[in-house]
């Protein structure tokens, strides 16, 4: 995380630490990350903050061998599309698991981990990842 992105990262703490998204009180749909307007209800929509559930299941996954800058030391690692129990989907890293347990449909729960750190003098970005629950 470079210093110039610090305000951006800081604004995302509630989202990254606690899966804070929002919900439209008109149609009942939940969104993560938060939306500015409800794409379903448009001007009739009314969005309020909503903390997403911390459990879900894997919809799809990939194993990353060629990582972007900052993640080189972690290869190989899993990235997955996760469907939370309220139906909201998000992309996250899967950690702590033996390869054969990472499967479509596997149940997962959120864990709090380091996302990135540029170098030893830079601030650390923390946030959500997921692990398989048995």
């Amino acid at each position: 995380m470079s210093n110039y992105a610090l305000p951006l990262i800081w604004r995302k703490f509630p989202e990254r630490y606690n899966l804070l998204g929002n919900k439209c009180t008109n149609c009942g749909r939940s969104y993560f990350p938060s939306r500015k307007i409800c794409p379903n209800c448009r001007r009739k929509g009314h969005l309020i903050e909503e903390v997403m559930p911390k459990e879900g299941k894997i919809i799809s996954f990939t194993k990353v061998f060629s990582a972007p800058e900052g993640f080189e030391e972690e290869v190989p690692y899993f990235l997955a599309i996760i469907e939370l129990i309220n139906g909201v989907r998000l992309l996250a890293q899967i950690v702590d698991n033996e390869d054969h347990k990472v499967l479509i449909g596997a149940k997962v729960k959120m864990v709090f981990r380091k996302i990135s750190e540029k170098d030893e003098e830079s601030p650390i970005a923390y946030g959500y990842k997921f692990k398989i629950v048995e």
Partner: protein, 351 residues
Amino acid sequence: MSLKAKVGIVGYGVYIPPYRIKIEDIAKAWGKDGNDISKSLNVYEKAVADFDEDACTIAVEAAKNAVNDFNIDAQKIGALYVGSESHPYAVKPTASIVGDAINAGPDLMCADLQFACKAGTAGMQICYGLVKADLIEYGMAIGADTAQSRPNDALEFTAASGGAAFIIGKNEEEVIAEILDTYSYTTDTPDFWRRPKADYPSHAGRFTGEPAYFKHVISAAKKIMEKNNLHSKDFDYVVFHQPNGKFPLRAADILDFEKKKVEPGLLTPFIGNTYSGASIVGLAAVLDISKPENMILLVSYGSGAGSDAFILKVTDNIKNRYSKNKVKDMINSKVYIDYINYIKHRKKIKG
């Protein structure tokens, strides 16, 4: 609130990373006899944090378990202290990150503590004082570490990762273990240290035994028992700081505690020394199996040096307020890694 109200533990949570390395694998990498080392230390494997874990993430996971398992409103936590010797920042508190991650802020007293392996129990003492003085409703004290050790140093066989969070409160319906007394024994004893820019701690070898660990642990235990007119036979369990699997057994022997009273809280043989987490993860393991009226003696030790002693009495509330994430289950949930993966995980390869 009367100063005589029961103050004690109202909730606790533990986090032990699932990765393990066997001591024999570390020994093999350095041409040593793993069986000899395991037997001499009474340590067989240790918990290893993943690439993306540090004392802060461990503290958050332990804190979340404490809040969720014991149904505590995090917004009512008035003070939060994180003790560690591996805080991810030299300047910038771990505690404020934990506070936001469990949604305890912003009305929150907060600080990071450092006293080698006893910073977690120092936090418990501060919270106990604040709750007893009626300044806060709940206080959370955390001890968490990703313990550092120089490759091929004696510490490498034991230095592990893990932590525990304890919530101190006074609600009579919530206190699961009343803190009857606490006492600390402190001297300037340089047995183990790490200067600010050093990657790994240094230690004074055998000097860490008699004048350091044993002098402080035994003195603290004896004095708090004398002060309360109690004896080893009055306790059901005793938990000591556990830099290896041998020291606590010897301390128990010196203090005339039966082996069966120390073994339930002695986890170093299976997860290694989690430094600031070591004694309080042991306490959590004992609370996992405790019954009402059980008496527990907890004695931590931090190099530098000091010991914090606590006398705890388990209440009836433990029958319906208990941890859903048992320490035993976390110990048994493990994935073994080899030495190469271990040094990658702990970032011991420098580019």
